[in-house]
């Protein structure tokens, strides 16, 4: 798969339209890598001139910051900012709402000012510019519910772009009882992804999966690699893998467009 790096671009004296910030999950996690690839396929189809940092990308520091390690966060941030500013990056797109939030909101006061998009916003723009079309026949009529990632939804009030994309797939979008600003967290945020939960009587991802299952979905759509893992685990816990799929919106679009 052709994924140009900023270094390649620079060598050719080119500046891409947008930097794709892959994020740690999107780079290393087997499930999330599929999302990265699906997104790249869409970028190719829409002829978007993009590049990644590749081995020059490092953790945004989101998990460190939410765990309370402001030192580590700022060191990561400053290193990344140095690289980004070195390449004169202006526009960034990412499939990870945590990276999205951090790059968009927390980097500016440390000297990193960019126009940052979540991939659902970016794709939505491509559609309105007429650069991308979504085939609404492949997934037609499927029952889909969307789980709002906290760091996209409440944290940044992006509720509509994922929904608009889903609707374009021609599917039947149903909302969970808690949705948009009242959505329940999948349980991964605040660095919880990297540790066991405190003792309680249930796992958060199981509760959220139950809420999703109440809508009797065939597909649970996500817009975050961590949510994706959490909901996938929840579905396994509920032994519903045979009936319910968990898919990122980028994957759904790639599938619909037969990429």
């Amino acid at each position: 798969m052709n994924v140009p790096t900023m270094a390649d671009m620079m060598a050719q004296g080119k500046q891409p339209e947008v930097l794709f910030w892959v994020g740690a999950a999107g780079s290393y996690d087997d499930r999330a890598k599929k999302i990265s690839r699906a997104f790249v396929k869409i970028l190719h189809q829409a002829n978007v001139d993009f590049a990644v940092l590749g081995t020059e990308e490092s953790s945004t520091g989101d998990a460190a910051k939410r765990a309370g390690n402001e030192f580590l966060f700022q060191m990561q941030a400053m290193m990344n900012i140095e690289v980004l500013n070195g390449y004169e990056v202006k526009k960034i797109v990412t499939c990870d709402p945590h990276s999205f939030n951090t790059l968009k909101n927390e980097y500016p006061s440390l000297g990193g000012k960019y126009e940052v998009f979540h991939h659902t916003q970016f794709l939505q723009n491509l559609i309105s510019e007429g650069r991308l079309k979504i085939d609404n026949t492949t997934l037609k009529g499927k029952r889909v519910t969307f789980h709002d990632p906290c760091y996209l939804g409440r944290a940044n009030e992006v509720y509509e772009s994922p929904r608009n994309l889903i609707k374009r797939l021609g599917v039947n979008l149903t909302e969970m009882k808690r949705n948009k600003s009242t959505a329940l967290c999948c349980g991964a945020g605040g660095a919880q992804m990297f540790k066991d939960a405190e003792k309680g009587d249930k796992e958060i991802n199981v509760l959220r999966t139950e809420e999703a299952l109440e809508t009797k979905p065939q597909i649970i759509a996500t817009g975050c690699p961590y949510c994706n893992t959490m909901m996938t685990d929840g579905i396994k816990f509920k032994e519903k893998e045979a009936e319910v799929l968990v898919k990122d919106i980028a994957e759904l679009i790639a599938e619909a467009n037969n990429l």
């Binding site: 953790s59 060191m75 927390e106 939960a197 405190e198």
Partner: protein, 438 residues
């Protein structure tokens, strides 16, 4: 002798208001124990928020029933204060229903009629509130942190309002000349017959007594506020005004850390350099918060504003799945500790004497703090824009940066970020491998 009631009234007013002012000054002082944070920007937007959220109660109606009842009580409270104004003038000058002559029977009657209807609605609403709190099994009123004083406090407020509203209606019902005028008594006229068997003197005595208890009750209630979650009726306004306007996901970047990180990353900096001669001796900054004075004043204002409604907790994913964390408890603990610190300062002639306690551990446990997913549900839900998450984060920062007391798995995650640039143990050189798999 003739002026005795007026003088007594004036005295009660002075004592009541004086005590209130004293407590409010204490409140200010305690809030100012917090660190500075700038919340004076974007004034129009702040004003708009205050008008919408505090005055307009826009976030209350997210729960329609309690929201609607709350609005009745709120409107009733605001409007009935006009009546209190009349009572104060009458009390000070020995007049009787001074506004009646002033405004004319028609308009005055209309006003008092409105008050009577509102008072009745408030009574009903408050009764429903009482039933919800005490009879209906509503989870957020039954949490651990709602035992003891918080529960009694909630009920006390309701009893106060029931009594005050009843007194107001009885006072009107036993005011013979007012009833004879026959205006503004849509409710109290039905109470008048209850007193038919009494002599005119007795009725007059009842009227005077209820009048006095009514106004004294209001003064007592005013002073109850400081000790109660009911303080929100005043603080909801500044609290919504000074609330955070940034996106909820945007956490503060600690400036003290920025300076140190810059120094660390600057290859020219000499780590062993002595501070320059004459340079100001910089006090080593404490990272994060372990006690109330480490929090900022908005967080402390938040603590005093919290109405203990528990809407935050009932939206918290950690709480919903049985973990120790309750954002409401975080706010209640912060206020309790702040009160304790304030009393300590009062007892020690204006300075805080170490009492061997702090907010962390003595009130809030690390287990609670580590259960938070930073999802912002509590912040979104709070009807008065309180931010429990910011306190949780500041305390985590203290645990990690001052005490190195993160859970083991998080330490591993952080080591990985430091060494490999990812929370997992992968080699940074493999970061682009995903592109060529499949």
């Amino acid at each position: 002798m003739q002026y005795l009631p007026n003088m007594f009234f004036a005295l009660a007013l002075i004592v009541g208001i004086g005590f209130f002012v004293m407590n409010i000054r204490k409140l200010f002082r305690n809030i100012k124990l917090g660190k500075d944070v700038n919340r004076t920007d974007k004034k129009p937007e702040r004003l708009k928020n205050m008008i919408k959220i505090a005055l307009g109660q826009s976030k209350m109606v997210r729960r329609p029933l309690s929201g609607f009842l709350h609005i009745i009580v709120y409107v009733g409270f605001v409007i009935i204060n006009i009546e209190v104004l009349e009572i104060i003038i009458d009390g000070l000058f020995g007049t009787h229903r001074i506004f009646q002559g002033f405004l004319g029977d028609g308009f005055y009657g209309f006003l008092i009629a409105t008050f009577e209807i509102l008072a009745t609605l408030v009574f009903v609403a408050v009764t429903v509130f009482w039933l919800r709190r005490n009879i209906a099994n509503i989870k957020r009123f039954l949490s651990k942190e709602m035992k003891g004083w918080p529960k009694n406090d909630g009920n006390n407020i309701l009893y106060f309002e029931m009594v005050l509203m009843s007194l107001f209606l009885i006072m009107n019902a036993t005011d013979i000349s007012f009833q004879q005028a026959g205006v503004g008594n849509p409710i109290s006229q039905f109470l008048t017959p209850l007193f038919n068997s009494f002599s005119p003197e007795a009725i007059h005595t009842i009227e005077r007594t209820t009048w006095w208890i009514h106004i004294l009750g209001i003064l007592v209630f005013l002073n109850y506020l400081y000790y109660s979650k009911h303080l929100h009726i005043l603080l909801a306004f500044p609290n919504t005004y000074f609330a955070n306007l940034n996106p909820k996901g945007q956490f503060t970047n600690l400036e003290s850390v920025t300076n140190e990180v810059k120094l660390m990353m600057d290859p020219d900096a000499d780590p062993y350099a002595m501070p320059e001669e004459g340079a100001e001796e910089t006090v080593p900054e404490k990272f994060g918060a372990s006690d109330v004075a480490d929090l900022n004043w908005v967080q402390l204002l938040n603590a005093y504003t919290c109405t203990e409604c528990g809407r935050c907790t009932s939206a918290c994913p950690a709480n919903l799945t049985g973990k120790e964390l309750s954002p409401r408890k975080i706010m209640m603990d912060t206020r309790d500790r702040l009160e304790e610190v304030g009393k300590n300062i009062d007892a020690n002639g204006g300075t805080f004497k170490d009492d061997g306690k702090q907010l962390l551990n003595d009130y809030i446990s690390p287990e609670e703090l580590w259960a938070c997913t930073s999802c912002n549900a509590c912040v979104e839900e709070c009807p008065v824009n309180i931010d429990p998450l910011s306190i949780i984060m500041d305390m985590r920062r203290y645990l990690v940066m001052e005490e190195s007391a993160a859970p083991q798995e998080l330490n591993m995650m952080m080591t990985n970020i430091e060494n490999n640039g990812a929370p997992w143990q992968y080699n940074q050189q493999d970061r682009l491998n995903w592109a060529n798999e499949e």
